[in-house]
């Protein structure tokens, strides 16, 4: 038997060790990013979620200026946490459209009355169909869309106060 071959098990073990040691050191996330970033917004058309706001279709997202698309739900706690930041973005002149995920009109209305309504249009996605089209894996999520309707960025989870400047910059860059 070749002498070098005898060292092969140790070498393979070394490789294993290196792989898992990096795995242990690297921070682990379970976030699945959408592969739709960089691609045009897929076609969809959703009915209005509440009476006070119009319905939402993909055509509404090609505005000639960058917009935000926020996916939220009244049953989602982090959505409450990000509500002030969305209002702040709206005050900064950003157009925010929304998709309400798996929700009822009453619950959405209550949620918006209580935590504020920063949205221009709200589409109701009761079966996650559009969410799946977008490659979104949960709520809340926010997509930055440029004027031509191309998705340029996906923010997963609630928007914290410290995320606001970054999002404003992304919107600026997308012009």
């Amino acid at each position: 038997m070749n002498r070098w071959l005898l060292w092969l098990p140790l070498v393979l073990f070394g490789l294993f060790f290196a792989a898992v040691a990096t795995g242990l050191i690297m921070p682990k996330d379970n976030i699945i990013e959408s592969k739709m970033v960089g691609k045009p917004m897929p076609d969809f058309s959703l009915p209005a979620a509440i009476e006070q706001r119009p319905a939402l279709s993909s055509a509404d997202l090609v505005k000639g200026k960058p917009t935000l698309l926020n996916i939220f739900a009244s049953w989602c706690l982090p959505c409450i946490a990000e509500a002030p930041q969305l209002l702040e973005l709206q005050r900064a002149g950003v157009e925010i459209n929304a998709i309400a995920s798996r929700d009822t009109p009453e619950d959405i209305a209550n949620f918006l009355n209580r935590w504020g309504n920063p949205y221009a249009r709200i589409g109701s996605d009761t079966t996650s169909r559009v969410q799946l089209e977008l490659g979104s894996s949960g709520v809340p999520e926010t997509f930055v869309i440029d004027g031509k309707g191309i998705i340029v960025y996906q923010h997963i989870g609630d928007i914290r106060a410290e995320d606001v400047p970054k999002i404003l910059k992304l919107l600026e860059d997308a012009k």
Binding site: M1, R3, L6, W7, P9, L10, F13, G14, F16, F17, A19, V20, A21, T22, G23, L24, M26, K28, N30, I32
Partner: protein, 645 residues
């Protein structure tokens, strides 16, 4: 005081392990006989103290001593006795102590009863064993002290999660640990043999019972775990190639290969280096499995109580043991002759084929399990490797392995005639072909793999009894019976797997009380839905009457349980077992129109999977008894002969 005594016993055991290692190392280097004599007593003492420590921990749990942190975190004074008992090892610290206790006992057992091994190899083995134990002692004493006190003393414990109070917990984890410890003993034997370069039949015979024992426990542990998951998780699956399942399967694959190669070494003095490597790999796989489960490095449905810090500790131990053993292998094995060569058509030939196929399967499971981790580390891309890959990559190899398994026992050692083999195996081949033909003709929707699997299982089921053909059944040694039963068990399990994957029928319905559900030959009548209450839960229970054909009526009651204290909801599946399969009913959520989501499966012959597993373990048990009895008799005869001389 009990906790302190336990801790002192643990420290003493650790000190004795250090002494045991030092005596072995210095004794071997200096060749001092008096050290050799001392090491046996030290090993036994280590075993006694660590056992004492573990017994004291059990006592603390049974007494519900709430001044001990571990008891507080994992027990409560109102818990049923059996769960107080099993709660001892149902946590990280306790399970580590259990592990090192079993290792200590195994060491003591070797020190007291092992007679056939050369003294130097035995001493090296015990030193290696002590070295492994030291790592676990360090782990326990430095970072996972099970006897840690808690101030102020709380009124009662936090209890074990009610969901985890299951007989499965009492049985499944310790069974796997016993398997792992058995493999650690085999590992120590291999390291001992590499140090003294004494690799031969005597070494193989000394190691074999430990490998067999480990393998029996692993088989039982995996079988029990699979069934536990099947009935607890409520989705009717028994194997998902989840990382944690693979972590348990890999040591089993390595142990199965080792079990067969050690037979070649014991009988024909061949495959020396290979057997050593397998012993190292088998233990590596148990350590790697423990690491994968505890570190949480891979995402799994089953992993719990993951802790990267503990993971790092296990990884460090892993690196020392396995890296060390592999370096030793590379340095020493060059001078170990591989032993005799084989004819291709011979018992050895079949066993080599068995080993190669098992190793390739092991390699594929290993690669498939860790590949997503590797890819993410290198490219940052996330990907999943699951059942489609594992089934396709390992399935055909497994079927080849089963075919070899049927032929192997019919072959003679050294040299055999291919024609004679064909003669002996012609009936099973005909049966397989007939089954294949019949299945292809009369069934629809079977995958190629399942079709071949089922046909092969039928043929091999017959072939596994062929070694008993034309033999005097009363003079056939017990270990031959063991082999026959174990091989038959594999065929039974394979048949169960093929049937389950091909013939399962599923029905999802939203049913109102009064509705009937038909699945296969079953008629289920959904009579009512009623609330029931348990000690710490309330449930909605479906009353369902099931009837198979025109047969008797059976009541089955799947539940949807709520644990208010834990804000937990679980689904308790109802299972109805017949000889030819299992009816599996799960109650889902209700809707606003008074309908309930009911999931029904009829799984033909699914129970054979676990019956097969139990048969395999039983076969292993018989083989072990047979081997031990034979070596005992031989020793007695030898001693008798020596006495006469």
């Amino acid at each position: 005081m009990i906790a302190e005594t336990g801790l002192i016993a643990l420290w003493l055991a650790a000190a004795l392990a250090l002494l045991q290692f030092a005596l072995g190392a210095i004794g071997l280097r200096a060749g001092r006989q008096e050290y050799f004599a001392a090491i046996r007593s030290v090993t036994v003492a280590q075993g006694v103290f660590v056992t004492l420590s573990f017994l004291l921990l059990i006592w603390l749990f049974l007494r519900s001593d709430m001044s001990v942190r571990l008891v507080v975190m994992n027990s409560a004074s109102v818990k049923p006795f059996i769960y107080k008992f099993s709660g001892t090892w149902g946590n990280h610290e306790g399970s580590m102590l259990l592990w090192v206790t079993v290792m200590g006992l195994a060491g003591a057992f070797i020190a007291m009863f092992e007679r056939s091994l050369k003294q130097k190899t035995l001493v090296a083995t015990l030193a290696a064993q002590a070295f492994i134990s030291l790592g676990f002692y360090a782990f326990l004493l430095i970072s996972s002290n099970p006897f840690e006190r808690m101030f102020p003393v709380p009124a009662d414990g936090q209890g074990l999660n009610p969901l985890l109070q299951d007989p499965g917990l009492a049985f499944h984890p310790p069974t796997l640990y016993f398997g792992y410890v058995g493999l650690s003993v085999a590992f120590s034997f291999a390291v001992g043999a590499m140090i003294t370069r004494d690799v031969g039949a005597a070494f193989a015979k000394a190691m074999r019972p430990w490998v067999l024992g480990a393998w029996i426990f692993l088989t039982l542990g995996i079988t029990a775990g699979s069934y536990w998951a099947y009935y607890e998780l409520g989705w009717g699956g028994w194997w998902f190639w989840d990382p944690v399942e693979n972590a348990a399967l890999m040591p089993w694959l390595a142990a199965t290969a080792l079990l067969h190669s050690v037979t070649v070494l014991a009988t024909r003095d061949g495959l020396r280096a290979w057997t050593l490597m397998l012993a190292v790999v088998a233990f590596s796989m148990s350590m790697i499995g423990t690491f994968l489960v505890r570190s949480g490095i891979l995402t799994s449905v089953h992993a719990f109580a993951v802790d990267p810090e503990r993971g790092s500790f296990i990884l460090a131990l892993l690196a020392i043991y396995i890296g060390g053993a592999m370096a030793l292998f590379a340095l020493r094995v060059g001078t170990v002759k591989e032993g005799s060569r084989f004819e291709l058509v011979s018992r050895e030939g079949a066993l080599v084929a068995n080993n190669l196929l098992l190793s390739v399967i092991l390699g594929l499971v290993f690669i498939g399990t860790l590949y997503p981790l590797l890819v993410e580390a290198v490219t940052g891309e996330k990907l999943s490797v699951g059942p489609p890959y594992f089934n396709l990559a390992t399935g055909p190899l497994a079927l080849m392995l089963v075919a070899v398994m049927a032929a192997g026992p019919l072959l003679r050692w050294r040299r055999d005639n291919p024609k004679a083999l064909l003669n002996r195996i012609s009936i099973p081949i005909l049966i397989t072909a007939a089954a294949l033909f019949a299945l292809a003709l009369f069934t629809t929707g079977m995958s190629v793999l399942a079709l071949l699997g089922l046909a092969l299982a039928i043929g091999v089921g017959v072939a596994s009894f062929a070694p008993l053909w034309k033999r005097n059944l009363r003079r056939t040694p017990l270990h031959t019976y063991g082999m026959v039963i174990a091989h038959f068990g594999i065929a039974v399990a394979l048949a169960g797997m093929a049937c389950e994957s091909s013939f399962t029928e599923e029905k999802l319905v939203a049913a109102k009380p009064g509705d009937e559900i038909a699945v296969n030959d079953w008629t289920l009548k959904f009579d009512a839905i009623e609330p029931v209450a348990g000690p710490n839960w309330t449930a909605l229970e479906a009353r369902i009457t099931a009837q198979y054909g025109d047969g008797a009526l059976h009541q089955i009651n799947p539940q949807n349980r709520m644990f208010p204290a834990a804000q937990t909801q679980t689904s308790e599946a109802a299972l109805l077992t017949r000889w030819n399969g299992q009816l599996y009913v799960v109650l889902g959520d209700g809707d606003s129109q008074g309908r309930w989501q009911v999931r029904v499966w009829w799984k033909p012959f699914v129970t054979w999977i676990w019956y097969g597993g139990i048969l395999v373990a039983l076969g292993g048990f018989l083989a072990m008894i047979g081997r031990l009895r034979r070596s005992y008799k031989q020793r007695k005869q030898r001693e008798y002969a020596e006495a006469i001389v």
